[in-house]
Symmetry: C2
Subunit: 142 residues, 2 copies
C-alpha cells in the first residue's frame, strides 16, 4: 500500500486502520519507533511497537511500546513517570518505521539521562558524554 501510493500528491490520504494493517512488521511482529522531542528535535530513543502497542498509543495519546526483554506491552513512564505525550505519529515510505514527535517528561533513558544516545565516537574512542539529569534510583525505587 505504501509503495503503491508513493507518487501521490501531498494531501492524498488512506483510511488509518487499513493502512496500519499494511505496516511491514518484522518476523516478531514489531516495527522500530523513533521518539523525537517535538520542539528541540532531540532524538530521545528507539524502541519497538507491535500492533497492540500502536493501537494503545493512538487510543491514549501516550507512547506505548513493546518490551522485547519483558515480552509485553510497555506503557512508557507507567512506573517511572517518564511519560511521552504524542504530538505527531508518522510512518515512513516503506511502512516499516514509525516516527513519534513527543513531549518527554524528564529523562527518556532508563539511566536517568535525557536521551539514550550518550556514547559518541571521537577518534578511536567511544566517549560517554552526557550525565544523568535524574538519579536512576529515583526513577525505579524499591
Amino acid at each position: 500500500m505504501f509503495k503503491r501510493n508513493e507518487n501521490r500528491n501531498a494531501g492524498y490520504s488512506l483510511p488509518l486502520r487499513a493502512a496500519l494493517d499494511e505496516l511491514a512488521f518484522n518476523a516478531e511482529g514489531l516495527v522500530p519507533v523513533i521518539a523525537q522531542q517535538h520542539d528541540t528535535g532531540e532524538v530521545l530513543m528507539l524502541a519497538w511497537m507491535n500492533r497492540a502497542a500502536l493501537d494503545d498509543t493512538l487510543a491514549t495519546g501516550r507512547a506505548c511500546y513493546y518490551s522485547r526483554s519483558r515480552g509485553k506491552l510497555w506503557r512508557k513512564g507507567e512506573s517511572s513517570g517518564q511519560t511521552q505525550q504524542v504530538r505527531e505519529l508518522r510512518v515512513d515510505c516503506d511502512g516499516d518505521t514509525v516516527l513519534l514527535q513527543v513531549e518527554q517528561q524528564g529523562p527518556a533513558c532508563h539511566t536517568g539521562r535525557r536521551d539514550c544516545f550518550y556514547w559518541k565516537v571521537e577518534d578511536n574512542r567511544l566517549v560517554l558524554d552526557r550525565a544523568p539529569i535524574v538519579n536512576p534510583d529515583e526513577l525505579y525505587p524499591g
Copy 2:
C-alpha cells in the same frame, strides 16, 4: 560492555573497536541506524548497518548501510548522488541502535522527498503531506 558502564561519569571512554565488537547486532547481524540532519534536526530515515557497513562509514566519513532487499552494502548516494556526510556517530545505552548526524545532499528518500516520514496520522486518516523536492526519475536514471 554498555550496560556495565552506564553509570560512569561523563568523559569516560572505551576503545572504539572493542566497543563496536560489543554492539548488539540482531540475528541478521544488523543494527537500526537513524540518520538526522545535523543542523535542522530533521529525522531523515532509518536504515540498517552490519559491522562492515559501520566500519566503511567510519573509514570514509560517508554513510554506508546494509541493504536488506539487495543483500549487500549500500553506499548511500553512490548511484543517486544523495550522499550523507557523517558529522557525528552515536550509540545508545543498550548498544543496539546507532544515531548519525549527517549533512544530507538533496533528498534522503528514494521517492525524491527530503525525508522518508511523509505519512502522517490525522484523525482517522494517514495523510501524505510532503511533496518530492526532486523528481525520483532524475535520481535513478536509466
